[in-house]
Amino acid sequence: MNAALTTEDSSHTIALEARDIFKHFDGVHALSGAQLSVRKGEIHALLGENGAGKSTLVKVLTGLYTPDSGTIVQNGSDVEFANVRVANRAGIVALYQELSIIPSISVAENIMLGEQTPNRGGLVQWKTLRRGAQEQLDRLNQTIPLGKLAGELSPVQQTMVAFARALATNAQVLILDEPTASLTDTEIKDLFAVLRKLRDQGVAIVYVSHRLEEVFELCDRLTIMRNGETIITKNVADSNIDEVISTMVGRAAGELYPERGTATSTVALTVEKVDGRKVKDISFTAHKGEVLGIGGLAGSGRSELLRILAGAQKHTAGTITVGDKTLRPSPGVSRALEAGIALVPEERRSQGVILSATIQDNIALANIPGVSSFGFVSGSRIVDITRQGMLDLQIKARGQRQPVGELSGGNQQKVVLAKMLARKPKVLLMDEPTRGIDVGTKAEIYRLIRELAAGGTTVVAVSSELPELMGMSDRIIIMHEGQISGEVQASEATEEILLAYCYGKADSHVNN
């Protein structure tokens, strides 16, 4: 391992290096001997599970945290960053997932925000300002109207504006945290082109992401962290996804996905000719014990379909039948739950859990009928179902009364699951069940999905990651522009077939 850490040779210029960084909070070691060495003109992936220390390391590098010990070396000399501004001035800029653009001012002003506004006697010199902004956009090959309000731009354009601002401050090291989270596939391609261009201009880019496919497409080298330590740094070309996963998890990747084969022939869910917003003429059935995957591009109507099934969105035509009971049209969430359909929504933090509320309050939320009688809730019954849920799903927390906002992403997702599973649903709908959670917890969620299926639950899961779709499902339905464009057994699926369906190319594979 140590050999791998010392692969630096003299032919590369190191832009930024972190040596033996230690940092602890309240007695918990977030970093214990973290290393990172980023060369000029490379895209360097920083990988690790949630809690491995990536974010803390980034925050140390950008002056947000002061390390307990260890040194940061920039261009060969030791540096200390007292705060973010000092780090920015030294050319180290981090762009976070929540983009730091100001929607209410113009693109040009956003780009030049870090600079002294050119002015004469207090009047803004717009020409100079726009010229400076245009220069940066040119470096990125972007044509974005400078006078437009930044809030009116698409997400990818907003990302570009944030990049341009970083360039305007003369960034030498650019740190990106999950930059593709809100982008579509084409936008991601554009982003990658820009990143490669920046790299070729000599900028060092640190790329933090959970999306390993992207890392292998884009990055030159990678560093993997685990438990606050740097485990390995190597060339991407010399590695592969399985190796990365097993290094991140600290054990062999083994079976990320459990075995299939729990599906029965009993129909549990029948959807007939359902229409609604973004959804047209959807018909399918799902069986007891089956995991049915639903794929498709962003905006293809996947999430809307799940929301209709869960009663969270109206449908204008068609019927939904659970077992042999047909739901009334647009039943509402409460009746859908009573009929046995539960939804684990896409956006955990805004739709899944109340972050400020405790674990038990969150779990009680979906179970008010089950924990109350004559209009009064029973505290002891809430404690019971919470204890059961935390035990079943192995939720790691200080206790039932810990606010959910303090938990890791994976544990938050488990709280959402526990909340819905306490309703003992016949059909469990899951929208992006593993978004933003680490590989270890992902494996747990897949196992759990399969256990539920084995227990007779029907699981309908939407995912935009094709490997996940193929790995966890028994059968896959693909949607395109609101309609079902294809259906395939997961055992016979390939990425090519699924992608063809995603783009609406119904071909010889389709039988119906």
Partner: protein, 322 residues
């Protein structure tokens, strides 16, 4: 995005404890201050009884405001509603309607105003600010119509006794305020609708996707608030032995202030009834103490505003700590 690496642990530092208990400490300091200034008067049984008597109506209206604020909204019309309810009860009794019938009708008027607010906000999706500001305006107008712009007095003895009578030497409104706030506390804490209110206030979308009927929850919160503030207004009329169109209007701002102060008492920073009562007590103690010291009542109003600012600053500091 990878989440924070260090599991957030609640700190035990002195600074944070002070911040945490800041509001309660401020209350104790306030009491200590006035006691030191006038040890002979301030903590005497008579004066404590006085304070309780003075805050009892505010306590009732602040309870109503707490319910609405738990749901994540607020109600600017509560003060006006209480005035109107007092005026309606008084006008009906002066017109010869039996006391309990008049009280019931007046309470019903409050309930209807709350229902209207709830309908506008939960079903027609107006913002709480616009909707309750508008109903406040109309309700004040109605109160002027009912009182014909004058003060109604010579109310029946039995009615005035509700506000001025005593049991065990403690004024009746104190008992009524305690009973009402206990009922609301229990409703917020132990009933399904109370849990729905908390959930809705925590995150409407999460609550909706969990099967909570968010619209009904908000409707009921405003309805209950209207009813309870009407009871407060009727009691105020009984205590004063008269009814005017504006006699409850001060209580609107004070009730919001009390709930804000109360939000700083608990860690999560949510509206809560216990905290509201601490807030009500702070406002009551301060007003009474300043009175004893002979401070002008307009100055008291200025101080109240400053206290709200201090409370909100305190709670935002606390959120930054977390």
């Amino acid at each position: 995005m990878s989440t924070t690496n260090a599991p957030a642990k609640p700190g035990r530092s002195l600074g944070r404890t002070l911040l945490q208990g800041g509001t309660v400490i401020a209350l104790i300091a306030l009491i200590a201050f006035f006691f030191a200034m006038r040890p002979d008067v301030f903590l005497s049984f008579t004066n404590v009884k006085n304070i309780l008597f003075q805050v009892s109506i505010l306590a009732i209206i602040a309870s109503a405001q707490t319910v609405v604020m738990v749901v994540g909204d607020f109600d600017l019309s509560l003060g006006a509603t209480s005035s109107l309810a007092g005026a309606v009860a008084a006008a009906l009794m002066l017109g010869g309607v039996p006391m309990w019938t008049a009280i019931s009708v007046a309470a019903g008027v409050g309930l209807l105003i709350g229902l209207a607010n709830g309908f506008l906000i939960a079903y027609l999706r107006l913002s709480a600010f616009v909707a309750t500001l508008a109903t406040m305006t109309s309700v004040v107008g109605l109160a002027y119509l009912v009182t014909a712009g004058t003060t109604l007095f010579s109310l029946p003895e039995g009615f005035n006794n509700l506000g001025q009578g005593k049991f065990l030497n403690v004024p009746l409104p104190v008992y009524i305020a305690i009973v009402i706030s206990l009922i609301i506390w229990g409703t917020l804490r132990f009933t399904t609708i109370g849990r729905s209110w908390h959930a809705t206030g925590g995150n409407q979308e999460v609550a909706r996707l969990s099967g909570v009927n968010v619209r009904r929850a908000r409707l009921l919160a405003f309805t209950l608030a209207g009813l309870v503030s009407a009871i407060g207004g009727i009691l105020l009329a009984a205590r004063l032995g008269s009814a005017s169109a504006v006699q409850g209007s001060d209580n609107m701002m004070f009730s919001v202030a009390a709930v804000f102060l109360g939000m700083t008492v608990i860690r999560s920073g949510m509206a809560n009834l216990g905290g509201t009562m601490v807030g009500v007590t702070i406002i009551g103690v301060m007003s009474n103490g300043l009175n004893i010291l002979g401070v002008n009542s307009y100055v008291q109003q200025v101080v109240t505003g400053l206290i709200i600012i201090a409370a909100v600053t305190l709670s935002s500091l606390k959120n930054r700590e977390r």
